[in-house]
């Protein structure tokens, strides 16, 4: 016999015997089991479910989850300098208020009428981000920065009919892995070949000679990040884009949008497609569950007709009101199945709404102030930390909010330094030993260190003191 709930469950309105009986009577069957007549008996469970007992009591469940959560440590109780694709930035309280609004959170597809407000917020995400990245078209979000870059590369391959992409060898290995999966397997005809470009060992910026040597009539796109994975402001964007254009390739720039109050919008220096992360704009780190990606281009049909995302357009109703509705939806997998542009599905659309709130709160002055504060504090941290014996900056190039510290001179491993810092309540930057290809060993003694607007001078000085102590230990 089945185990049965002793009382009605708070999540299930009809889990009341009298209601079930009334519904069975209306259908004209005696038992619920009769309704499962399509499933052959031999398909049914061979053994009962082996789950922990039900906890329908919210009081009990709260205690259980809280007991687990209390085993975690946080970047609020510790001072954290970990970055690398997920960054600790200030999240305005209004962002949290809107993210938690039940209407937004529970909307599914709806119509342009019944979910008008949600559609407007989606449009405003695209529209506000469009101002920041300098693009007239922004798609609704994709799963992550890696996805945005991968979809952009696939767009470029379709646009050019070519199957090779050039990207920096110093790219985030996680992002590269996502891109690499989207570029397919070499055994398959649709494979897009990834060719890595070297870097200037002094500055950490892209090696233009290597780029030029590898560019050809086979190149669909050149992709680079600004700031780069290792935090450097890639100052050669115009030269890179010009070289790409010379060979008929698309230029794709991955830009951290939080830098764009002070850094130039990528299309100004030649980007054809702009992609990047959403998490910095008002979304908590969420243990990595805050990531999302955006995709933006010029407003040309050749680009728009290659988008794999939802697109929301502004329109006017017959009574001259604003309307916000899907555009070019038929080209997606919902319209064309395997003939659609890659695929479309649930993404991180509620984060798009949060991004819109964030950008509205910031305004142009907020984005500039924020960018300047990050720049100055991160550069101060780099300046301060290299005063420590045995600690050096790996690259001399201009930096935004992250930089590479090399601990080689301390004679200690990154792991040992970070273990020491933990005793001071500090999470040090993550080791770079996992950098792609043969690069890992060269960066074994290096840590990617992140400083943002949340770090005060006092925080940075405390980090410097602790690091000095651990380096000398």
């Amino acid at each position: 016999m089945k185990n049965r709930l002793e009382t009605a469950h708070p999540y299930m309105a009809n889990s009341v015997p009298a209601i079930k009986e009334a519904m069975l009577r209306a259908i004209g069957v005696a038992t619920v089991e009769e309704l499962f007549e399509q499933i052959p008996a031999e398909h049914r469970l061979r053994s009962p479910l082996d789950l922990p007992p039900a906890m329908p009591s919210e009081n009990e469940l709260r205690r259980h989850v809280l007991d687990q959560l209390r085993r975690n440590e946080t970047c609020e109780d510790n001072l954290s300098f970990i970055g690398g694709g997920c960054w600790q930035h200030h999240v305005p309280a209004v962002c949290d208020e809107i993210a938690g609004r039940a209407e937004m959170m529970t909307s599914v597809w709806g119509t342009p009428y019944s979910d008008h407000g949600r559609n407007q917020a989606w449009f405003e995400f695209a529209s506000l981000l469009g101002e920041l990245v300098g693009c007239d078209v922004v798609g609704q979000p994709v799963y992550s920065w890696g996805y945005a870059a991968g979809h952009a590369i696939r767009m470029a391959a379709r646009l050019t009919g070519r199957r090779r992409v050039l990207l920096p060898c110093l790219i985030d290995p996680e992002r590269l892995s996502v891109i690499s999966n989207l570029c397919g397997s070499k055994e398959m005809a649709s494979h897009i070949e990834i060719v890595e470009i070297g870097f200037d060992d002094e500055t950490g910026l892209l090696d233009l000679a290597d780029l030029e040597a590898k560019l050809s009539g086979e190149t669909a796109a050149v992709y680079f990040d600004c700031p780069s994975h290792l935090g450097l402001i890639e100052s050669q964007g115009a030269e890179i884009a010009a070289l790409a254009r010379l060979h008929g390739a698309e230029t794709i720039v991955g830009a951290d949008p939080i830098s764009l109050g002070v850094l130039e919008a990528p299309p100004v220096y030649g980007a054809d497609i702009v992609v990047g992360p959403m998490q910095p704009l008002g979304i908590h780190m969420n243990t990595g569950g805050g990531v999302g990606g955006f995709l933006a281009t010029r407003d040309e049909a050749r680009y728009v007709h290659e988008y794999p995302t939802l697109l929301i357009s502004l329109a006017r109703t017959r009574r001259d009101e604003w309307a916000f509705a899907l555009s070019c939806a038929h080209q997606t997998s919902y319209g064309l199945r395997e003939e659609g542009k890659d695929w479309t599905g649930n993404s991180v659309n509620n984060w798009a709404i949060v991004n819109a709130v964030y950008l509205a709160l910031m305004g142009p002055a907020g984005m500039r102030e924020l960018g300047e504060l990050i720049l100055q504090r991160a550069n101060y941290a780099a300046f301060k930390l290299v005063e420590i014996d045995g600690v050096a900056l790996r690259f001399s190039g201009p930096l935004f909010k992250e930089f590479v510290l090399d601990y080689a001179g301390t004679g200690k491993s990154v792991a040992a330094i970070n273990a020491g810092l933990r005793r001071h309540g500090i999470f040090g930057g993550r080791g770079l030993g996992d950098l792609g290809g043969d690069l890992g060993p060269d960066f074994e003694t290096c840590a990617l260190t992140c400083v943002t607007e949340i770090h005060s001078q006092a925080d940075i000085d405390r980090f410097a003191d602790a690091l000095a102590e651990e380096a000398a230990r």
């Binding site: 399509q38 906890m55 008008h116 695209a126 929301i312």
Partner: protein
């Protein structure tokens, strides 16, 4: 039943809210930051000097300049102008559930929000324990050996399967030869689309007399080129393929893998296990079946597979050893990363808590109730003149959802499902899901009542459709010009497909149709 149900006099909020770019005033601020400390400024100088000249932003972004309260109020207005699940939403295939506010609160705590995935594992034991706990629960539900939560949605989990399939066949030296994935027209389009994105040729089987493709059609489709089968069961018309074990056997005999897309799990959860039917892998949508909110994401597609496929799973995996949890990153045959980090952690925790709140008894009850509700709805819906059931020759009872058609009503009145859906929203009922393209059933709609919605909600939903069908006959203009009680009125969608008119941003609108 429904004839006694009272319709509510609903009207949506209507704020006549401007587009945000029309709001604000020069000089207003919604957030300010401090100046850097003196020592910082002395050490590094002005910010502009830290940026190479070519990269200094010349024109400030044209963002609105608003005060904090105006931003809050604007977006609260937008949320009030969103129906979401605040009325009744029986959106088929999406399995609309209650999203526990307990877990909204608990995942908003710093232990989740303010944690970084690259923290040392000993600082994330609580989160890892619950992720591992959910893995164990899903193993029991599916019979699979291992789950991973990296995929950012159901389609992303289907894509995960395509990547695992590539790695599996590549490891056997057969990938160049096995370049086809078999699916059915009634399987969610993301399966065909992710297979094509991953480089496979897609073979799609059409449904036949029994409501699903025949074994003969499957046998004709599989060969030594078959890499995998990707399939839903039941499909989104509530039809269960009773020959599914033979399907799995045939595909296995041809050397292919079998993936069970459990998007439609609600009617069979706690009733059958994918692995016991022979499948190699399956997928659950935590933002649907497991009680986490939708909002079109953040979402999680939990992907589970057999021991044989586990080496190819995306890394890292959460593993347990003597009560301690850590991340296994050293997996040489892994496909690597499907998506950065290890998944939408708050969504995983919400699903874990949902499964703990429900337990085996609750999960079994939920699938009972969703099938009960669907069959109860059928009685009421088929009593409405002009409404018919898809594949009405199939006499066995459907599982958790059924597809209907208003083709007959349209023949009589000229009013189709699009207009009916718009009119339904005038009663505070979210527009129903229709069907995926291509429409096999004309003028379709597909409600799914699930275990959340009460008998009274279901009765009201049916009563609204009955009322709109009556209007279609007696006062067709009311339906044709709908909506009337919504936030805004009808618009012409044609310009949205025209490059000269579409406007995905305010700057595009201004350029095309704005000033002058």
């Amino acid at each position: 039943m429904s004839e006694n149900t009272k319709l509510r006099r609903y009207h949506a909020a209507r704020w006549d809210e401007p587009v945000i770019h029309e709001m604000g005033h020069p000089g207003r601020r919604g957030n300010v930051f401090p100046k850097p400390e003196d020592a910082v400024r002395e050490a590094v100088g002005p910010a502009a000097d830290l940026i190479p000249v070519a990269l200094r932003r010349k024109a400030a972004p044209a963002l609105p300049e608003m005060d904090e309260y105006d931003v809050l109020r604007h977006f609260i207005h937008l949320s009030q102008q969103t129906l979401g699940m605040m009325g009744i939403s029986l959106f088929g295939t999406c399995t609309m559930k209650y999203n526990s506010r307990l877990m909204e609160g608990l995942t908003a705590r710093p232990e989740v929000r303010a944690a970084h995935p690259h923290q040392d594992e000993d600082t994330l034991q609580g989160t890892l324990a619950m992720i591992h706990g959910l893995d164990r629960i899903l193993r029991s539900l599916s019979g699979m050996d291992r789950f991973v939560f990296q995929a950012g949605g159901g389609a992303d989990a289907a894509y995960t399967h395509c990547c695992v399939t590539r790695a599996y066949h590549a490891s056997r030296g057969e990938l160049a030869q096995r370049d086809e994935i078999v699916t059915t027209i009634q399987t969610h389009p993301c399966n065909a689309a992710t297979a094509a994105t991953a480089g496979f040729k897609v073979v799609t089987l059409m449904i036949e007399e029994n409501g699903y493709p025949s074994l003969d059609a499957l046998k004709a489709a599989v060969s030594d080129r078959t890499a995998a089968l990707m399939i839903n069961n039941p499909d989104d018309m509530g039809v269960y393929n009773p020959e599914i074990r033979d399907w799995v056997r045939i595909v296995h005999e041809a050397g292919g893998l079998c993936f069970y897309d459990h998007a439609n799990f609600n009617g069979v959860m706690g009733k059958l296990r994918a692995r016991e039917l022979g499948f190699d892998a399956c997928m659950y949508m935590l933002h649907k079946t497991f009680g986490a909110p939708k909002g079109n994401g953040p979402a999680v597609g939990a992907y589970g597979c057999s021991e044989e496929l586990a080496p190819f799973l995306p890394a890292p995996l959460v593993v347990e050893e003597a009560g301690c949890y850590w991340l296994d990153r050293d997996r040489p045959q892994s496909v690597g990363k499907i998506r950065e980090f290890w998944g939408n952690v708050p969504v995983i925790l919400k699903a874990y808590a949902w499964a703990r709140a429900m337990g085996a008894e609750g999960i079994d009850e939920a699938s009972d109730l969703s099938v009960l509700a669907n069959n109860y709805m059928e009685k009421g819906l088929l009593a409405i003149p002009g409404v018919t059931k898809s594949q009405s020759h199939l006499t066995q009872r459907r599982l958790e959802m059924t597809r209907y058609s208003v083709e007959k009503l349209q023949e009589e009145t000229g009013i189709g499902i699009g207009e009916i859906s718009n009119r339904m929203t005038d009663f505070g009922i979210d527009a129903p899901w229709l069907a995926h393209e291509p429409w096999l059933v004309p003028e379709p709609f597909t409600p799914e009542a699930g275990e959340l919605w009460s008998k009274e909600d279901i009765d009201r939903w049916i009563a609204v459709l009955a009322e709109v069908a009556r209007e279609a006959r007696e006062e067709p203009e009311t339906v044709k010009t709908a909506p009337h009680n919504q936030v805004v009125h009808a618009f012409d969608p044609a310009p949205l497909e025209d490059p000269d008119h579409w406007a995905m941003t305010w700057r595009a609108w201004q350029r095309k149709r704005g000033r002058g």
